[in-house]
C-alpha cells in the first residue's frame, strides 16, 4: 500500500472474501442443477414402466443371438496402441431381407477370418443366423480387409434389399436374390480398397435409383495390415485433413456405379466417422451431413442433384472442431424439421467436447439455413466417449427419445490411458501423426466401462437420462445402435453392437395405453426402398417428421419402417408423405396401432 492509501473498510474485505467463496461454490451449485447429471437411479421394471412408460430388457441370448465381436490385428508396428487404432468395426443394421414381414438384423465382425452374422427373425421372439447359408458371412478373409459396417438398399428396384458392406479393405456389394441368397456384384465400379467407417444409400439426383456415398477414415492408400511406415495417424487432433477421401457413386443401373465425387464437388479428406442424408434445407433434395473425427462436421448442400457445396461453417455447424462419431436426424421438437445429433468425447476433467444437438433455427432454410447447438440446454450434451445414437419414441408418448451408447477401450479398471493420450493429442502434427510417438496402451482403459444414456424427451425441450432405471445397465464399449420393432407390436426395440463385446438386444415393453402407428413405404417412381421419403404425421394438434433412411447413427441403419408414438387418446388428423420423386401423398385415415403399408401412387 502507498502510505497515503487507507486500507479498505472491513465490510469491503468481508464482502470480497464472501464473493470469492460464493464464486468457488458456484460449480457445485451448477452441477446440482445441471440437466446432464440428473440421471434416474435404478428401479424395478414395474416401477420404471409406470414412471417412464417403458422398460428395456436385454434378451440377446434368450432370443438366440450369441454374437461376440472380434477386433482386427493390424500391422505389428501398431501393436503398442492396437486397442486405440483397432477400435471400430462392431456394427448393426436392420433389414427385412426376405420380406416375410419381420425385421432381421445383420451384424459385422472385424477379426481376420471372422464371420458376419445375419440373424433372421423367426417371428416368435427368436432369431437364427443364416449368414453362412446365404453367403454373406465369410467376408473378412485375410488380405481383403475386415468389416466396419453394412447398409441395405434395393439398388436394382427388384423389391429385395441389397447389401453394401464397407470395410477397412475391399468394399463389397451383394445382390439379394429374392431373399434366398446373396450374389457378389462384380464390376460394380467400386474401388479396390477403402478404409471406410460410414456409407449411406441415397438418391441424390432423384432419378429413382439408389446412389451410394462412401466415406474414408484412414487414407485409402493404406493397407492397415502392411503400412509403409507409422505416419498414418491424423495430423492434428482437431484440424486433421489427411484422412480418407469421399466417394459418391451414381447408380447407372444394372449393378453399375459411376464415381462422380469430383464432378459433384465432394472434396474432403477429413476423417469421416458417420454420415447421413436428409433434406435439411427444404429443397426436396437430400443434403449430406458428415461427422468427422479430428475436425469439424461438414454439410454438403445438394444443388438439385447436379452438385454439392459445403455449407457447414455458415450454418454454425462447422465452427468448432470436435470428434464427430454419429449423425442421427430427429424431429425432437415436433416442429416438422430435423435436428441432427452428433456425438463427441466428454471426459471429466480432461476433455469436455460435449455432444451436439443441432436444432434448425426458426425461419431459416435453403441457403440461409442456420443451426443452434442446444445439447446443453436440452440435457443431451455429456455422454462420455459417445459413439452411436438413435432417435426413437421408446415410450410411445409422441416425442422422440434418444438412445446413446459409449465407451472407448475397457481394459484395466485400475489404469487409465487418458494422460498419455492427452500428451500426444496436443502435439504438433509431426508428433501426433506418427503412431510410434503414441505411448503404449499397455492394458490401460481409455474412457472404458461407461454408463449408457437413454434420454427421454419431455416434449417441452428437456431430456432426462433414465438408462439405469429402465434397464440399460451394460458398460461394454458400445459402437453401433439401431432400432426396430422386432415383434410387430408397436414398440421400438434397440440393438447395440459392442466392440470386442456381445451384441445386445434390448427388448422394449411399453405402456399399452400409449398409441402408435407405423408405416412401411414402397417406391414406384422413387427408389423402391423409399429411402429419402418423408412422412409427416399430424395427430391431436401435433406433428412429427420422420424419414426412411439409408444409414443413421454410427455404422448403423434402423428399420425402414417408420414408427410414431402418439400418446394417450390420440386421433390421427392426417399423414402426408413426400416421396423421393417429389410427389406428395396424403393419407386421410391410416390405421392406428397398426403397421400401414403404403405404395407410391404411380
Amino acid at each position: 500500500m502507498k502510505p497515503s492509501q487507507p486500507p479498505p473498510p472491513l465490510w469491503v474485505r468481508i464482502f470480497t472474501l464472501a464473493l470469492l467463496a460464493a464464486l468457488l461454490a458456484t460449480p457445485a451449485v451448477m452441477r446440482r442443477f445441471s440437466p446432464d447429471t440428473a440421471s434416474a437411479a435404478s428401479s424395478s421394471a414395474p416401477a420404471a414402466l409406470a414412471r417412464y412408460g417403458f422398460v428395456l430388457t436385454e434378451s440377446a441370448r434368450e432370443s438366440g443371438i450369441d454374437f461376440v465381436h472380434q477386433a482386427p490385428n493390424l500391422d505389428s508396428r501398431l501393436a503398442p496402441i492396437m486397442p486405440e487404432v483397432a477400435s471400430m468395426g462392431a456394427a448393426v443394421s436392420i433389414v427385412d431381407f426376405d420380406r416375410d414381414g419381420w425385421d432381421d438384423l445383420y451384424v459385422t465382425n472385424s477379426g481376420e477370418g471372422s464371420k458376419n452374422h445375419l440373424y433372421r427373425n423367426l417371428g416368435n421372439g427368436k432369431f437364427e443366423d443364416v449368414a453362412e447359408k446365404l453367403g454373406i458371412a465369410d467376408v473378412n478373409k485375410p488380405g481383403t480387409g475386415v468389416s466396419m459396417g453394412a447398409i441395405w438398399g434395393d439398388f436394382d428396384n427388384d423389391g429385395y434389399e441389397d447389401l453394401f458392406l464397407y470395410k477397412w479393405g475391399r468394399p463389397l456389394l451383394y445382390h439379394n436374390d429374392g431373399g434366398k441368397g446373396f450374389t457378389l456384384v462384380k464390376d460394380a465400379g467400386l474401388p479396390a480398397w477403402v478404409n471406410a467407417n460410414s456409407a449411406v444409400w441415397l438418391d441424390y439426383d432423384r432419378d429413382g435409383k439408389l446412389d451410394l456415398l462412401l466415406n474414408g477414415y484412414y487414407d485409402e492408400k493404406l493397407d492397415l495390415w502392411h503400412i509403409p511406415n507409422t505416419r498414418i495417424m491424423p495430423d492434428s487432433f482437431e484440424y486433421a485433413t489427411n484422412g480418407g477421401r469421399k466417394y459418391l457413386f451414381h447408380n447407372l443401373g444394372r449393378g453399375r456405379f459411376e464415381d462422380v465425387t469430383a464432378k459433384v464437388g465432394l472434396n474432403s479428406h477429413r476423417w469421416a466417422l458417420a454420415a447421413g442424408a436428409a433434406d435439411l434445407r427444404g429443397t426436396g433434395y437430400p443434403d449430406i451431413f458428415i461427422a468427422n473425427d479430428y475436425g469439424v462436421s461438414e454439410i454438403f448442400a445438394n444443388d438439385r442433384g447436379k452438385s454439392f457445396h459445403e455449407i457447414a461453417k455458415q450454418t454454425g455447424v462447422g465452427a468448432a472442431p470436435k470428434s464427430g462419431m454419429n449423425v442421427a436426424f430427429g424431429d425432437v421438437m415436433n416442429q416438422g424439421r430435423f435436428a441432427v445429433y452428433v456425438s463427441n468425447i466428454s471426459k471429466e476433467g480432461v476433455l469436455i467436447q460435449g455432444n451436439n444437438l443441432w436444432i434448425p433455427r426458426a425461419g431459416t432454410s435453403g441457403d440461409n439455413l442456420a443451426f443452434d447447438n442446444l445439447a446443453h440446454d436440452m440435457g443431451v450434451e455429456v455422454g462420455g466417449w459417445s459413439f452411436g445414437a438413435q432417435f426413437g419414441d421408446l415410450n410411445n408418448d409422441g416425442t422422440l427419445d434418444l438412445f446413446l451408447t459409449n465407451g472407448y477401450v475397457s481394459l484395466s479398471r485400475d489404469a487409465d490411458y487418458w494422460y498419455d493420450f492427452s500428451k500426444v493429442a496436443v502435439g504438433n502434427s509431426s508428433i501426433i501423426s506418427d503412431a510410434s510417438n503414441w505411448p503404449p496402451v499397455a492394458g490401460r482403459s481409455h474412457s472404458g466401462y461407461e454408463h449408457k444414456r437413454v434420454w427421454i424427451n419431455d416434449g417441452a425441450g428437456r431430456f432426462a437420462d433414465v438408462a439405469q432405471a429402465v434397464g440399460v445397465t451394460d458398460t461394454h464399449d458400445g459402437r453401433s445402435v439401431a432400432t426396430a420393432d422386432f415383434e410387430n407390436r408397436g414398440a421400438l426395440d434397440v440393438v447395440v453392437a459392442n466392440q470386442k463385446g456381445p451384441l445386445l438386444l434390448y427388448k422394449n415393453s411399453v405402456n399399452p395405453a400409449n398409441h402408435w402407428i407405423e408405416f412401411e413405404l414402397e417406391g414406384t417412381k422413387s427408389n423402391r426402398s423409399a429411402i429419402g421419403a418423408e412422412v409427416r404425421c399430424y395427430w391431436s394438434g401435433q406433428q412429427q417428421l420422420q424419414q426412411v433412411s439409408g444409414a443413421s447413427g454410427f455404422c448403423a441403419q434402423n428399420s425402414r419402417r417408420l414408427h410414431f408414438g402418439l400418446g394417450k387418446g390420440a386421433r390421427i388428423e392426417k399423414v402426408v408423405i413426400r416421396w423421393p420423386s417429389g410427389r406428395e401423398q396424403k393419407l386421410e385415415s391410416p390405421q392406428l396401432d397398426r403397421l400401414n403399408k403404403v405404395k407410391e401412387p404411380s
Binding site: L23, P27, I352, H376, A425
Partner: protein, 306 residues
C-alpha cells in the same frame, strides 16, 4: 512495504508488460517497439487470439471469450472501486478475461464468467502483506479444473496442424518477453521442461524407441496452452519472486513439480503445469517474504548483541 493495490495495471497476473506499468499517471511509461509498455501484453495476447482463431478457429464461441473478458472487467471495476475508490486501468482485467477465454474449455457459458470473476476477486481477497501470492488466472483456472471438472477442461488442442502459427507465436513471444526482461524465466522453464522430459523418457518403457518416447513427452510443450503458460503466466511480475536467480529457481521448481505430477499419471497430471504453478508460486512468494522480513529484522538485532 505493501504493494499498492490501487496501481492501475491491477496485475491480474499474466503479463510482464502490464506488470511493468505501475501507474498510468506516470508521465512517460516505458516503451517497447515504440508502444506504451502497458499495451504490449494486451496487444500481444489479442494477436495470439486472432492468429489462432483465423488460422484454426480456436474460439469455439466468441461469445464465451467476450463473456470472460466482460466478466473480468466488470468485477475489476466493482472491486477496484470498492477497495480504492478509483476507476481501474483495465488492461490486466482484459488479459485475464482473454486468457480465461482461451485457456478453459467448456460447452457451458457460465464457467467462463465465473472463472474470470474468481481470478479478479482472488487478487483482492487473498493477499499477504498487500501482495497477491497466486497468479490470479492460474488460481482461477486450477480451481475450475478441480471444482468444475464435470464441465471444464483446459485448452488441449493445437492452434492448427500448421507449424507456421506455432513459429509465429514462439518468435514473437520470445522477442517481446526479451524486451520486457523476462526471457530468463521462460528459457529456464523450457530448458527444465526438456530436461525433465528426458528424465521421464529415460525411466519409461520404450516400446517404440527412445526418440519416439521422448517425442510424446515433449509433445505438450508444442501446444498452445504452453505458449500462453510460459509467456503470460509464469512471467507475471506481481506474483513472481524478485531477483533473476530466484525467478529462475522458481521456474525450475515449477517444472520439477510438474514433472512429479506427470509421473503420477493421475488427474493432476493432465493439467500438471497449472497445478505446479498453483503450488510453487505462492510458496515461493511466502518464502521470499519471510526471508525479506528476516533480513529486515537482522540489522536491528545486530547492535543489541554487539
Amino acid at each position: 512495504m505493501k504493494q499498492d493495490i490501487t496501481a492501475p495495471p491491477a496485475f491480474v497476473g499474466q503479463s510482464a508488460a502490464v506488470a511493468a506499468t505501475k501507474a498510468p499517471a506516470k508521465p512517460a511509461a516505458p516503451k517497447v517497439f515504440g508502444i506504451d509498455q502497458r499495451y504490449v501484453a494486451p496487444i500481444f495476447i489479442t494477436l495470439i487470439l486472432l492468429v489462432g482463431h483465423i488460422s484454426a478457429g480456436i474460439l469455439e464461441s466468441p461469445i464465451k471469450t467476450l463473456s470472460a473478458i466482460a466478466s473480468a472487467m466488470v468485477v475489476e471495476i466493482v472491486l477496484h472501486w470498492l477497495h480504492n475508490r478509483k476507476f481501474p486501468f483495465l488492461a490486466s482485467a482484459y488479459i485475464t478475461g482473454i486468457s480465461v477465454g482461451i485457456l478453459i474449455r467448456s460447452p457451458a457459458l457460465w464457467p467462463y464468467i465465473v472463472c474470470s470473476a474468481i481470478a479478479i476477486t482472488s487478487k483482492y481477497a487473498i493477499r499477504v502483506n498487500g501482495k497477491h501470492i497466486w497468479n490470479p488466472s492460474n488460481f482461477a483456472i486450477a480451481m475450475m479444473l478441480f471444482l468444475a471438472s464435470y464441465t471444464v477442461a483446459s485448452l488441449s488442442i493445437q492452434w492448427s496442424n500448421s507449424v507456421y502459427a506455432l513459429m509465429v507465436i514462439w518468435i514473437a513471444g520470445g522477442i517481446i518477453i526479451a524486451r520486457l526482461k523476462r526471457l530468463h524465466i521462460t528459457l529456464t522453464y523450457v530448458a527444465s521442461f526438456l530436461v525433465f522430459a528426458l528424465f521421464r523418457t529415460a525411466i519409461a518403457p520404450h516400446a517404440n524407441g527412445f526418440l519416439h518416447t521422448f517425442g510424446s513427452e515433449v509433445a505438450p510443450i508444442t501446444g498452445p496452452m504452453y505458449q500462453l503458460f510460459i509467456f503470460f503466466m509464469i512471467t507475471d511480475p506481481p506474483t513472481t519472486v524478485k531477483g533473476h536467480r530466484a525467478q529462475m529457481l522458481v521456474a525450475f521448481l515449477i517444472a520439477l513439480v510438474e514433472c512429479g505430477l506427470r509421473l503420477t499419471g493421475s488427474f493432476f497430471a493432465i493439467h500438471a503445469p497449472y497445478y505446479a504453478l498453483f503450488t510453487v508460486g505462492p510458496i515461493a512468494n511466502l518464502v521470499q517474504m519471510a526471508w525479506a522480513a528476516r533480513r529486515k529484522r537482522a540489522p536491528v538485532a545486530a547492535p543489541a548483541t554487539a
